[in-house]
Amino acid sequence: MKGEHLGEFEEFTLLAVRALGDNTYAVPVQQYVEKATARTISIGSIYAALGRLEAKGFLRSSMSEAVAQRGGKSKRVYTVTPTGLRTARDLHRVRERIWNAITEGGRS
């Protein structure tokens, strides 16, 4: 295991892969994250994030069959691993807990 930490951008990427229904590849992920965050996202940063997530064991990748649409070139498709999913959920829960504390404390 190469580290449990999940950065903000990595979290977006991971969730995007999950949201796109797994077996997705870099281009849809880029489009999804760009739309969701309303930021300009470069493909390079998506590659980097996917690579890091895979290295940490949060994503799994494989080569797909050639698709006619891409000129017969195959592509690398990603799936979120159970570990990845659990880590994202944990992160979400931590956030919720903190937000709850803020609302209970009366300062929002």
Partner: protein
């Protein structure tokens, strides 16, 4: 569907995206680009495209890879695969493997041997720590400059010096026995008598026992001795209980107190160190430590935070109290400090050795490259298959370099073994001193590793360079793309040319050496060496040499009475003995004048004719009169056309200072008056044919170092035995060593024979390697041109024409190389080696013609075999095949 813009493709190519994922990335980029163009227009799409490519440029490479990251073990795995492949390939072509290995290992072996000798001789030094702070202490008086001081003067200097440590050393040689029963060895072991602080001043450490210290100057009992690492290893077989062991220096027992660290051989490859105060004990019967009555070489270690000027000023003050005839000035000069080889010698040796190394390596590399290229020509199809399967050019080059590096590693291992064997041979050839330690150290291994790397990569890149610009896939289609390209042919020619040039150069040098040997053996030395013997009595000299003087006084008349002995005389230096004394004139060009001190009968004993004036009388010898006899050529050089009799010896010929009566101080030698001129004689340095000589009467004090010269009448037999018996009868302890001057002359004459063997051996290997390379290359090139030959035959060419064409094509680079090699040999023999070839013109035509004929014959043979095969091509067969 259109592709990415050309600029984008190009930028992507230059980015850090690994090649294996590049197609995938470019597909992604294209998909994004097209989607954006559809939704937002071309301008926006282009902007985002370059933005994306920019992001690929700055992302760390590791994460740009969307494929599995390429980890180090994988790369190693690739290399392992390369190696496995190389092994299989070489197993299929064992001849090529063998040839390459022989060439490389011989080249690396010779280069390593040469380098480790130079490393020992020049680079490593003798173990003096911080030599710039350990200057020689030079006395300047009148016109004489030297580091020689009497022992008493040294003591005075040392007393006055607080800003530096002042130490003295006297180099000597002695016969050494390691057990009391062992017979006296004929050779002498290099020995140094040193003052107490010698070891602390030089910074030398011991690996066992202790170094000599100041207390050793006054100790009673057997004198202490420190032995060198080499002595410990070679003479005492690394005896673990060496400390306290007794060895015999001459007839004096000495106790080993320490073993010096490995690299320490100061000054001048010494093997033993003893206190200066034991000098008298070693050479006489006085067992007590006494101040010796000798000249010592004085050096110092300037203390930290003291400048040279301060130390010099203080020493000058101390020197002022020394009574001297001329005002004495003291100078500190690191250049004449201990163990400093004269810069010019170092430079000459370095240049020569490095040229040999460079030549041999050039040869080996060119050879290996030739062999690999001819292999590569036959491997074109294989490379084509690799390229077709997706191997990048870099991948193919890496395969080639891995192969040649693997070869280089094996070859360097063999080369190291070869070097190990050849170093003692080289050492004998170059007459290396006995105390030198040639065992390879880290420097040598680093050198070998570097050279292996450079030659391996170089030799591996040559075939890659050779095939640059070719379409790797063309050979797959069954045709050769090579015929019309000139660049690879030029590289091949260049390699063949280099080898031919180096071979010729080496062979020419070898021939010149051989001829120099032959000439030297027939040199007229000016006297008849047959029947001439030099005698060393081998007895204890007694205090102040009384014993030895008495011995001479009795021996000379008795030997004269021996039947068959024609003449007996004394000389400080016998002809062609162990050493010589020479003076370098202070003029341009510098002349070498040999100096000797003799009795008056010396000239007659040698058979030199007195051309003018007279020899010195017995009275002049006894009174140490300042007179001299000079050689004919010296007289001609300085007094052309007139008689030098009665003139003073010119000031440009410096004479060494002498020890004043009582041994208290050193005085400049008085200028002698010339009283006679004798015929020329060569008595040392045969190959320089130096006939300039100054003879002075032997001073009674120097008689203890003199040799007896005996001339045996022609036809007399058994004289040497009789002389030995007589000398033993005079002194029962005498152990006379009688050396034949003829033997010395022959040893001297054969010196270039060693160099001839060395150069000839390398030259021979060079030619064999060149021929092997040429054969392989011609065979593969010719086989490539079979189709062309077929066409030519079909057009009506005769086999004879084909033969001529192919031969000329293959031999042209050889002839060019020949011309270059001869030109290089002309320059080299004139510049570097002219000094060694006295009597042989550096442009000796026989040497050159012999070398050229040899190479042309060998090359023709190498070319004619494969060419004949090709010339016999059956046109119909070839054309049908294609």
């Amino acid at each position: 569907m259109t592709g990415l813009p050309r600029l984008a493709r190009w930028l992507l190519h230059l980015s850090r995206v690994p090649p294996e994922t590049r197609t995938e990335v470019s597909a992604d980029l294209l998909e994004l680009f097209e989607g954006r163009r559809r939704d937002h227009g071309t301008l926006y799409a282009r902007w985002r495209l370059y933005h994306d490519i920019g992001s690929l440029w700055i992302q760390p490479r590791r994460f740009v890879s969307t494929a599995t990251p390429r980890s180090t073990p994988m790369l190693l795995g690739d290399v392992r695969g390369d190696l496995r492949y190389a092994a299989r390939l070489f197993a299929r072509q064992p001849i090529i493997l063998l040839l390459t290995l022989i060439g490389l290992s011989v080249g690396l072996g010779i280069a390593t041997a040469a380098f480790s000798m130079m490393n020992a001789a020049v680079l490593r030094g003798e173990g003096l720590v911080d030599p710039d702070r350990a200057p020689g202490i030079v006395r300047t008086a009148d016109r004489s400059v030297s580091t020689a001081w009497s022992y008493r003067e040294f003591l005075q200097l040392r007393e006055g010096a607080t800003r530096m440590q002042v130490e003295a050393v006297l180099t000597d040689g002695a016969s050494v026995r390691t057990t009391s029963s062992e017979a006296d060895s004929a050779g002498s072991t290099p020995l140094a008598f040193v003052s107490g602080g010698f070891f602390s001043a030089t910074g030398a450490r011991v690996i066992a026992g202790r170094p000599l210290t100041d207390t050793d100057d006054h100790g009673a009992g057997p004198p202490p001795i420190v032995i060198s690492f080499v002595f410990w290893t070679t003479k005492l077989n690394r005896d673990p209980n060496v400390i306290g062991r007794t060895i015999w220096i001459g007839r004096t027992a000495a106790t080993i107190v320490g073993v010096a660290e490995r690299r320490f051989t100061l000054p001048n490859t010494r093997m033993l160190w003893m206190p200066l105060t034991s000098y008298e004990a070693v050479y006489s019967v006085t067992p007590e430590p006494t101040p010796p009555n000798v000249l010592v070489s004085v050096f110092g270690r300037v203390l930290p935070n003291v400048t040279f000027a301060e130390a010099e000023a203080q020493l000058s003050g101390a020197a002022a109290s020394i009574a001297a005839e001329a005002p004495l000035r003291v100078r500190l000069d690191p250049k004449v400090g201990l163990g400093r080889v004269a810069a010019s010698t170092t430079l000459a040796v370095t240049t020569f050795v490095f040229s040999v190394i460079a030549l041999v390596l050039l040869l080996a590399c060119a050879n290996v490259a030739t062999v690999l290229i001819s292999a590569a020509i036959t491997r074109e199809r294989e490379m084509g298959v690799r390229a077709a399967l997706g191997a990048s050019r870099w991948r193919i080059v890496r395969q080639l370099v891995t192969e040649s590096l693997a070869l280089g590693t094996i070859a360097s291992t063999i080369g190291l073994v070869l070097a190990h064997w050849s170093i003692p041979v080289f050492a004998t050839m170059l007459e290396a001193p006995a105390g030198a330690d040639f065992a390879p150290d880290l420097n040598v291994y680093l050198f070998l590793a570097l050279v292996t790397l450079v030659s391996g990569v170089g030799a591996g890149l040559a075939p890659a360079w050779h095939s640059r610009g070719t379409d790797l896939l063309t050979p797959l289609k069954g045709e050769s793309a090579r015929d019309n390209r000139t660049a690879p042919r030029r590289l091949r020619s260049l390699l063949v040319m280099t080898q031919a040039a180096v071979s010729v150069l080496l062979i020419v040098l070898a021939t010149l050496f051989v001829r120099a040997t032959v000439r030297a053996a027939s040199t007229d030395v000016g006297f008849n060496a047959d029947g001439l013997y030099a005698v060393w009595p081998g007895i204890d000299s007694g205090p102040d040499g009384v014993g030895i003087k008495a011995f001479w006084a009795r021996a000379i008349p008795e030997l004269q009475a021996v039947p068959g002995v024609a003449a007996v005389t004394l000389a400080e230096i016998p002809p062609f003995g162990d050493g010589y004394k020479a003076s370098m004139t202070r003029e341009q060009p510098v002349r070498v004048v040999l100096l000797n001190r003799t009795r008056g009968e010396y000239f007659e004993a040698l058979g030199l004719r007195m051309l003018d004036g007279r020899t010195y009388t017995q009275g002049e010898v006894a009174a140490k009169a300042p007179v001299a006899v000079i050689s004919q050529s010296l007289a001609r050089a300085y007094w052309p056309g007139q008689s030098p009799i009665g003139q003073l010896l010119p000031q440009v010929i410096p004479l060494p200072p002498t020890l004043a009566a009582g041994g208290k101080s050193v005085v400049p030698a008085p200028r002698p008056t010339i009283i006679g001129v004798v015929s020329d004689a060569i008595t040392a340095r045969l190959h320089e044919r130096s006939t300039f000589a100054v003879y002075e009467p032997i001073d009674p004090a120097s008689e203890i170092f003199a040799r007896l010269i005996i001339r045996v009448a022609p036809g007399a037999t058994g004289v040497v035995q009789q002389v030995t018996q007589r000398l033993r009868a005079i002194d029962s302890h005498a152990n006379p060593v009688i050396a034949s001057v003829t033997a010395g002359l022959q040893r001297e004459a054969s010196r270039p024979r060693m160099c001839a063997m060395l150069a000839g051996m390398i030259g021979g290997i060079a030619i064999v390697m060149c021929v092997i390379g040429l054969y392989g290359l011609t065979a593969s090139v010719v086989s490539q041109r079979t189709r062309e030959m077929g066409v030519r035959v079909a057009m009506g060419a005769q086999p004879r024409d084909l033969l001529r064409l192919l031969m000329w094509d293959s031999l042209r680079p050889v002839l060019l190389g020949l011309a270059i090699g001869v030109a290089a040999a002309l320059v080299a023999s004139r510049l570097v080696l002219a000094i060694m070839f006295f009597g042989v013109s550096p442009h000796d035509p026989i040497a050159f013609i012999a070398a050229m004929l040899l190479l042309i014959a060998a090359a023709t043979l190498a070319v004619v075999l494969p060419t004949r095969r090709a010339a016999a091509t059956d046109a119909a067969l070839v054309l049908r095949d294609s």
